[in-house]
């Protein structure tokens, strides 16, 4: 595979960094939010914060799918794994996320049937091979993951599978960004918008944030040169008092996104109000299976005893996800809450803000 090192070139990185320094001279303190968890990890992994002037802060946003999944969802997933004759199938990241009383990893070690897959289609295979079991796939993630989950549902329908279910916890990114700019506590001057999500939704939806709310948006790739150039494009907008949608990731992201993928989402899902961890319920910010596919809906198909979700004590995940606080502001951070003993999902997910700060000892 080519074009990995090309986007990590030291000389070019230095020259973009110098341009950012120049452009930022005389500006007040600027907070830029990288919405996506993969950006947060990349910023840590490549030491990007080292290459920025002091008046430019990068703050992490709510774009890690595991992190924004509410505790109540985990509690229900755990309960589903305990039902007789079910297999819960999930992406690896969800295994360690602590619920109120247990995690899927703990359930598995106690003999619960929890399978780890790399693709939603693998879950359909498992359903075909285990016709005596009910397969429940944990559908979480943003617009990047939901088209593949939609495909698995369409496959299951074609194959007339009666033992395949989705526990839909999918989220949409734009409603979350809208909620952030409407929150008076949040102080963001511009958004570094996600790369993968934007390949699906395109550049258009960000106009709402850039035009109506006056916050510059730049879609950037995940490589260090992408991120640095994205930051430079944001600062240039802020300096010239403009607010529009910039696209640094033109090699992949198009204006109208990936039409096929968007059609798949529309075919299977419809928007619903959805709970975000630490943030609360945001209107029309999640996806539920629509009427045509509701026979695959795990929530409608399995009756669960009432579970009382325990509120977090001390964990400030919500404020971290909104960018109001950083992980180092949390009393639990790297003391009671570490990747080995995570209190909140932001510490356990490989893309979580707290995990990134812990792993790379990032500065604020």
């Amino acid at each position: 595979m080519k074009y990995i090192d090309e986007f990590r070139d030291n000389k070019i990185a230095r020259s973009i960094s110098r341009a950012i320094f120049k452009e930022a001279v005389g500006l007040p303190h600027i907070n830029l939010m990288e919405v996506c968890g993969t950006h947060t990890m990349s910023i840590g992994r490549f030491g990007i914060k080292d290459m920025l002037p002091e008046n430019i802060s990068l703050i992490s946003g709510p774009g890690c799918p595991v992190c924004v999944t509410p505790k109540a969802y985990i509690d229900k997933a755990v309960a589903l794994s305990r039902l007789h004759g079910t297999i819960v199938v999930t992406f690896g990241d969800m295994m360690k996320v602590p619920g109120s009383y247990s995690s899927l990893e703990k359930e598995k070690s106690k003999g619960g049937l929890v399978n780890l897959v790399y693709s939603a289609l693998d879950a359909v295979d498992i359903a075909e091979k285990n016709s005596d079991k009910k397969i429940i796939f944990l559908g979480i993630g943003f617009e990047t993951t939901s088209p593949t989950v939609a495909t698995s549902v369409i496959y299951a329908k074609k194959k007339r599978l009666k033992n395949f279910f989705i526990y839909a916890g999918h989220k949409l990114i734009i409603p979350a960004m809208k909620a952030l700019v409407e929150d008076i506590e949040v102080n963001i001057h511009g958004f570094l918008c996600p790369a993968h999500v934007s390949t699906i939704i395109g550049t258009m939806p960000y106009n709402l944030i850039a035009k109506r709310y006056g916050r510059p948006c730049v879609i950037a790739g995940f490589e260090p040169l992408d991120i640095l150039q994205g930051i430079l494009m944001l600062i240039e907008q802020i300096r010239s008092k403009k607010s529009k949608v910039g696209n640094q990731y033109k090699r992949v992201v198009k204006k109208y996104g990936n039409k096929k993928a968007l059609e798949l989402i529309k075919e299977v899902f419809s928007p619903k109000d959805s709970e975000w961890r630490g943030i609360g319920i945001l209107p029309q910010s999640g996806l539920a299976l629509n009427k045509r596919y509701n026979m695959f809906d795990a929530e409608a198909s399995f009756r669960l005893p009432g579970i009382k979700t325990r509120p977090d004590t001390g964990c400030i995940c919500g404020s971290v996800l909104k960018g109001i606080k950083t992980p180092v502001d949390c009393k639990l951070f790297s003391k009671r809450c570490t990747p080995q003993t995570p209190v909140g999902s932001c510490m356990v997910s490989s893309e979580g803000t707290c995990a990134a700060y812990y792993k790379y000892r990032m500065k604020t």
Partner: protein, 334 residues
């Protein structure tokens, strides 16, 4: 034709077990020590200091591109002895096999252990074979222990490490971890990538000298974990230059796709050396002459500060902490 399978009787101490041991293990591993089949083996060493180690092998899948559990069980123990500055000599082997395991696969594993022993110049001098009920083990587990004679010139200890010492790695990293990951059924990538599983005692004996302060094989947890262990044990910080770390293109590509880091991927035929600054290029030159050290590189050096941390100068030019691996590396969602 029905496939020949291992049954509980093969481990019961009766005739079937006797035949298996003679017909498979003694036939292939045979040497004057083992052939006696005594309750223990009497060995003699001509040196004052010897090294002794043990490790258990439970890898899944048991066959992977570039090796199998048998080859791994010999190389792993040979390598643990080698990085202690010892010449591996004698190996013990305990096998635990699940009822119903294929005889042909057991034979294949035995033959690859035989080949690895030959390559490393070691003998299996004592062993044990057990069969457990179906479900009580996953196919086959192998434990090996080994004894090696310590080289006279070997003075290896973290206590000798000083600021300015160079860090050398003997070749491309992450090959084994990536090959095993690819061999697991659930990933539908194809590649000709092979595990680097190999006995590295030849490489070590070709370079061992007083100027080498410390050697370790970066197995589980990969290069990053080994460097952190060295830093913690010696108390000195280590600075690594990412652009100098040799990584094969397919390993890089796989890691990029799955969101994994090659620096945490396991190796089974590589060593990391800490060498005094003045002798580093001489040692590097000798390493490059050995077939298993051709891609050796100086990747960093021991620093003066003593916070027990490893710093990585990234390709993009930033600097960050290179931490230990916490838990398993899991592929990302999006």
């Amino acid at each position: 034709m029905t496939m020949k399978r291992i049954t509980l009787s093969h481990g019961s101490g009766g005739k079937l077990m006797h035949d298996l041991i003679k017909g498979l293990f003694v036939k292939n591993f045979g040497n004057p020590f083992l052939n006696k089949l005594g309750d223990s083996t009497l060995i003699h060493t001509s040196v004052e200091r010897f090294a002794y180690t043990t490790d258990s092998y439970v890898i899944n899948p048991i066959f992977f591109p570039g090796g199998d559990i048998g080859k791994l069980s010999i190389c792993g123990t040979v390598n643990d002895l080698s990085v202690s500055g010892a010449r591996p000599k004698y190996i013990s082997c305990g096998m635990i096999v699940e009822e119903g395991f294929s005889y042909n696969e057991l034979e294949e594993i035995t033959l690859s252990m035989k080949a690895a022993c030959k390559k490393a110049g070691v003998s299996i001098v004592t062993g044990d074979f057990k069969v457990v009920e179906k479900g009580a083990a996953d196919k086959i587990f192998i434990n090996t222990s080994g004894i090696g004679e310590v080289f006279k010139e070997a003075r290896l200890s973290v206590d000798y490490i000083r600021p300015g010492d160079k860090v050398i790695v003997s070749g491309t990293i992450g090959d084994h971890g990536a090959a095993v990951l690819l061999a697991r059924e659930e990933l539908k990538f194809s590649s000709r990538l092979l595990s680097d599983c190999a006995p590295i005692n030849g490489l070590v004996s070709s370079v061992i000298c007083k100027d080498i302060k410390f050697i370790r094989d970066p197995t589980r947890g990969g290069l990053a974990t080994t460097l952190n262990e060295i830093s913690m044990e010696s108390s000195y910080n280590i600075g690594i230059d990412e652009s100098q770390i040799p990584i094969k293109e397919p390993v890089k590509a796989l890691c990029e796709i799955l969101g994994l880091e090659p620096l945490y991927m396991a190796n089974e035929g590589k060593i990391v050396l800490i060498v005094s600054a003045k002798s580093a290029s001489k040692v590097l030159g000798r390493m490059k002459k050995h077939i298993l050290g051709r891609d050796s590189k100086i990747i960093g050096e021991v620093e003066t500060r003593r916070d027990r941390k490893v710093y990585l100068k990234t390709k993009a030019g930033g600097t960050r902490i290179l931490d230990m691996l916490t838990g398993e590396q899991l592929p990302r969602i999006c």
